[in-house]
């Protein structure tokens, strides 16, 4: 079983991200593997354990993104590939999907390609279905459980309306959610192995595709208006007394 996990590097969720001089900045906050993509790596490793095979972590990003790939290696991925090219700085999600699909083909295809549900930075959640579309493979989104059986995969999709069981032939694209289980911590051995691993870097030219022109472009960034909330603590002799005051305060806000 050949499994590819697509991961991205993003600023840590605790980072104080802001818009400054038309740029997004996060100071010296650390860059980490996109938290949703840890579930993708976890799902991939679980399937490797269940069926045998290999897990390849794949990322489009700058040189710094090696660290995110190393995290995947330390968790247990067998190899990692970085697609890095200044020409890719401004691609949109369709462009990213085309480049990922080309990289997946260059790797030699896969039985399953696993994605996170969405990125913390862009937050679109569109790259997995777009990659599936470019590859022409079935898309199984928001997956919390996976069972592979002779050339097909059955998954449980965790949706707002309940859990849906869906079956498709392999190869398939999956996006993985939290119900897959807590991502494993890198082991000591894993960290050592990752620190020594050679991570090949592929340029767009090596992928044999042209740089996709971005259709979606950012024209401006700004900081959201900051509403300074001052919390009014409602006190009282008894819970009932507190509740009476609180109920009045809530109704006075006219939100009900």
């Amino acid at each position: 079983m050949k499994i590819i996990a697509c991961i991205k590097q993003v600023p840590d969720s605790e980072a104080k991200v802001k818009a400054e001089n038309g740029q997004v900045t996060w100071g010296d906050a650390p860059l980490v593997i996109n938290p949703f993509d840890e579930y993708a790596v976890e799902g991939a490793l679980q399937q490797k354990e269940a069926n045998g095979g290999t897990v390849t972590a794949l990322c489009i990003g700058p040189e710094t993104a090696r660290e995110a790939l190393k995290h995947a290696l330390a968790m247990g991925a067998d190899e990692a590939i970085l697609v890095s090219d200044p020409a890719l700085n401004d691609i949109d999600s369709v462009g990213a999907a085309r480049v990922l699909a080309a990289a997946i083909n260059k790797i030699g295809g896969a039985d399953m390609v696993m994605f996170g549900r969405q990125t913390l930075d862009n937050g679109a959640g569109v790259t997995p279905p777009q990659t599936a579309r470019v590859l022409g493979w079935p898309m199984l989104g928001w997956v919390g459980q996976i069972k592979v059986d002779a050339g097909s995969v059955q998954v449980e999709r965790v949706l707002e309306e309940g859990r849906q069981t869906v079956k498709a032939n392999l190869p398939a694209v999956l996006s993985i959610v939290q119900s897959i289980g807590e991502p494993r911590y890198p082991s000591f051995m894993g960290i050592r192995k990752a620190s020594k691993a050679a991570i090949p870097v592929w340029s767009v030219a090596e992928l044999g595709v042209s740089v996709p022109a971005a259709v979606v472009t950012r024209v401006e960034i700004s900081n959201p208006p900051t509403a300074e909330t001052v919390c009014e603590i409602i006190a009282g002799e008894t819970p009932e007394a507190i509740a009476e005051t609180l109920a009045d305060k809530i109704l006075a806000e006219k939100v009900l």
């Binding site: 991200v17 679109a124 579309r133 898309m139 069981t165 869906v166 259709v215 909330t229 603590i233 109920a247």
Partner: protein, 328 residues
């Protein structure tokens, strides 16, 4: 500008944000609503009542259960023959997939989770929160049709005009079967915290009442109390990840970074500490109320009103007090 609005529904039950999208579409001119599914006459009828001028319906047994590929191929075929400029959709798990795939098919782009939109001539500029809402970006899509999925509750829902009708156009489904739906677990009731005007949310604190037995037993009672308050207010029950991980409530209820981003009018956080990953999911609520035993809990920094106390005492008392005032 030729505007289409995709009416997202689950087995005939329409996502409210679809109507919000219709309302926005109407403000730009005439609107065509698109309804895909099987046995969806009622959905088409409702689309007229919420303002659609025309409805294109693809009613086909192959579209009974939503799957990305047949929906995307059917929609792409419609859009490539009728060439709309702008396609508005509510933001749901389904529409993210659908619009994403159609954008590939039609060599265009998609702007998701949009919280504001402006039109200048035939140029559409949208605002979308990025980096978990820490920054806003204005973006444009330089191809057509441009797919724009709207954040729930970011645009007003139009009034329903009973009996309003119009012309229905029937169209064909396009077969593209790549997966089969094997079943559905009924264990999870339909929850859509994204649509709710009021959310009463519980965290690990909901499991903390030793007088009720172990954590699980306490949490069951605790979430029942939250459910009562939510029910009274016509709202939904939300949860922190700690409550979901504890097995006290299902993932569909989870608010936050790895759960759902919500923006209700009222959010009551009970026994939730206020970790950043939770805050990013609810800080756009109009009014936030926090009930927590710990006066130092960070949730109070985000709340307008706070109660330092035991949720097992405060929540039922609040239900009583509000019931009295609402005359229910």
């Amino acid at each position: 500008m030729k505007t289409w609005v995709y009416i997202d529904h689950f087995k005939g039950e329409v996502q409210v944000a679809s109507w919000e999208a219709l309302g926005l579409g109407k403000s730009l001119g005439a609107v065509t609503a698109i309804v895909l599914g099987s046995g969806v006459d009622a959905v088409a009828k409702a689309a007229f009542e919420y303002g659609a001028d025309e409805v294109i319906v693809v009613d086909d047994a192959s579209l009974a259960d939503y799957r990305a590929e047949p929906f995307a191929s059917t929609f792409s075929a419609l859009a490539s023959s009728s060439t709309p400029d702008l396609i508005l959709l509510p933001t749901t798990a389904r529409t993210r997939e659908l619009s994403a795939m159609c954008a590939v098919d039609l060599n265009s782009g998609v702007l998701t989770d949009v919280s504001a939109l402006s039109v200048d001539g035939d140029k559409v500029t949208v605002t979308r929160p990025i980096y978990e809402g820490k920054v806003l970006e204005k973006t444009v899509c330089n191809a057509k049709p441009q797919f724009v999925t709207l954040r729930g509750r970011a645009f007003p829902k139009p009034a329903q005009e009973a009996g309003r009708t119009g012309a229905v156009t029937k169209a064909e489904a396009k077969a593209d079967v790549k997966s089969s739906v094997e079943g559905y677990s009924a264990t999870e009731a339909a929850v859509n915290i994204g649509d709710a005007a009021v959310i009463v949310s519980g965290g690990r604190g909901v499991s903390n009442n030793p007088s009720l037995g172990d954590e699980k037993a306490a949490a069951e009672k605790g979430f029942a109390l939250l459910g009562e308050l939510a029910g009274l207010l016509g709202g939904a029950v939300g949860a922190s990840r700690a409550a979901v991980d504890g097995g006290f409530i299902t993932y569909a209820h989870q608010v936050g970074q790895t759960g759902k981003v919500v923006a209700p009018d009222l959010y009551i956080a009970c026994g939730i500490s206020g970790a950043i990953q939770h805050l990013v999911g609810m800080r756009n609520a109009k009014l936030i109320v926090a009930i927590n035993k710990d006066a130092e809990a960070p949730i109070f920094k985000q709340a307008r009103f706070g109660v330092v106390g035991d949720l097992f005492a405060v929540v039922p008392a609040l239900t009583v007090a509000l019931r009295k005032r609402l005359g229910k």
